[in-house]
Structures are given as C-alpha cells and as structure tokens.
Amino acid sequence: MSDTPTLLYCRCAYAQVVPSGVKNAVLQQLCDSGASFETVSDLCEMTAHRDPRLQELARCGRLRIAACYPRAVTGLFQQAGAPLPEGTEILNMRSLTAEEITRQMLRTEDLAMTAEPA
C-alpha cells in the first residue's frame, strides 16, 4: 500500500450539479500536471450499482478526492460497502474554486511529481 495519495476525480456525468466550469478546469489542471490520477464518470452511479471498483479505490490506502460534498461522498462509499479510509481528503467542486481544488489535489509534500508538466 503506497503512502502517496491516490488522486480521484469524479466527473459527475449523470447530472449537472457540479459547475461545469469548475469540473472542466480541475480536470484540465490535473491533465496538465505530471501526476497520475484516477477518474470516474460518476460516483453516485457506481454506488447505485455497488460497483466493486469503489472497494478497490477505498483500498488504495490514502485518497484525495475531487467530487462533491464530503458528507455525501463519505456516505456514497459507505453505502457501497467500501468505507473510505481514515484521512481521506474530499474536496468539494460544488463549493470551492477550481484553483482551490487543484492546489489541494496537487500539493506536493506527499505527492511524487517527477514528471514535467506537459
């Protein structure tokens, strides 16, 4: 299990509740960084179908998630039988700016960033 946090981005593709400007900008900045990251189309949809991939993600050890309200994201994982590990950071794209999200997602003290940004 790696000590480096796994970065996870939720596209919220099944409903337009996350401002598109924010989610597009966050994805762009993740893409422009040299970081590895995971993306999912929609955490709600995965929970609805008890997608086993949520358990894989919860087993990553450390997670830093750009998605929705932390209470909702925590509940979604729990409802899918994949409770989030302690210390999971959840960044809310519905209330924070893209800059605030990406600053937190890509902060480098525990994130290996050896690749040059494109």
Binding site: A15, L27, S36, T39, Q55, E56, R71, T74, G75
Partner: protein, 291 residues
Amino acid sequence: MITHTARPLKVVLYEGKGAIPLPAEARLKVMTALLDKGYAVARVTTSGSQTSAPQDDHTLLLLGSFPERQAPALEDVTGRIQIEARDITDLDAESIVALVDKTRGQKPMNEPGKWKPWFPVIDYSRCTNCMQCLSFCLFDVYGVSEENKIQVQNNDNCKTNCPACSRVCPEVAIMFPKYQAGPINGDEVSATDHGREKMKVDISSLLGGDIYSALKDRSAAAKSRFSKERSPDKALDERKKCLTKLVSDGFIPMDVLASLPSPDEILRKSEIAKARAAAALAAQPGAQPAN
C-alpha cells in the same frame, strides 16, 4: 438490492515509461470524452501512485502513444485480468472513443443521460435508526439489514427529484447527492436545519411515524395513540394530506403524487413497512420486550 451492472472496461491512458506523452490538449479531450461516455479512466505517468487493477472480470485497456506505433503485448501475471493495449498516436478524441467502444464490443454499460442516479444516501453518523424513512416511503426503497439497521436497498424504485424521505427524517440524515440545495445535497447540517426537526416531527406524526418512537419507549400513552391511529381510513387520509403538503410546498414533484399506488396498495405497503420497522426496532439492543 441492485447489484453491479456491467462496466466491462477500465481504461488507462498510459504516459509512463516506454510511451510518448500526449499533447496537453489531446489528453484533456480524450479524458473528457471517455468520462462523458461513462468510462472510468486512469492516467498513468512516471510519477505518483499506481493505478488500481480491476479486481473482477474487467478488461483493462491501455491506451498510449508508443514508438513506431507499436502497442506492447501485456499480460497479467495472475492471469486474472485481460489486458489489451492500443496505440493512439495521431487519433483524435472521437476516434479514440470509437476504438474503446469497439474493444468493449457488445457488453452493456451504463451511460450518462440514459438514467439518473437518484436515490437516498444515509449519513450513518447522524442516523438513529428510527425507521421513519422505511415507514414513510411507499416505493420500497428502504429495508433493514440482517443487523436490523436501516439501509437503502432498492435504489431504482426511488422517484427522480423526490427528496421527500429526507424531509421527514428527524435527524437530517438522508442525503440526495444530486439535489440542488443543502443540507439534502450533503452539505453540512446547520443548527437551523436541525431546528426544523420540530416541523418534521409534526409531519411524521401525521404519518403515524411516532408509532415507532412509541414502540421504543413502550409508554402506555403511546400505545393508546398507536391503537387509535391504526384506523386504515385515517392513516390513508393522513398520508395523502402529508404528501399533498409536500407537493404544494415544492418539496416533491407532482408526478410522484400521481404515481402513488392505489389506496389499497398504499395501505398494504404501509402495513408491511410498519411491521418491518417495528420488528427491526424491537430487535435492536436495549429494546424492551412487548407486553
């Protein structure tokens, strides 16, 4: 309980060793197009944590721009996962999505726009397992676990845009992440939100929801009230009154009211839900045996 439906591919956009990084604009377009189609995509570079491999029978499709346009032959050492690699040099986003679709083949997949993930999510840090939601919902969304804990069991039965159960939850413990306003959308619960509990108790009283609190307390007064409110006609009238109020207040859509089962069916479901809730409550640790 809804089970996992097919999500047959995990897509990896590989830009690690042995691959040529994509131009920034192309990378964003590909990621966006695949996500908006419903795929899960991992970007792998030479840095950061490794992507999690599928734990079930998924196929892992690795996309990259490789020297001489030659995708490597890859194999899972455990033999559990099928790994396929494709070279995407010079392909535009549309062509890459088509390539991924082709790899998926005829296997079905959930796609955005064809279904809205609308269902309640329980905040167990707030839930007191009072069973109000179970007794309120007429669409069998809720059930109880083997440990007699309330849980969401039939997501697809939930009526789109109806957050009515969250309105009757006395602890503001039911969320709908796709809802617009807080705290139903998962936003923090403020003192004001919790102060609305009184109004909610009134609503649940209309529904006979206090029966379950009464079952907990085993008070004689509550028992008396329980017997009075078991009148089928009264229960039906009160439930309709409550739902009509929720519609007129803009809390639930009109089509939910229109899609209610017949009065007989409501009564039947209501009795079943009451029995399940009562049984679950009675089985909880600390519950007193009924006299």
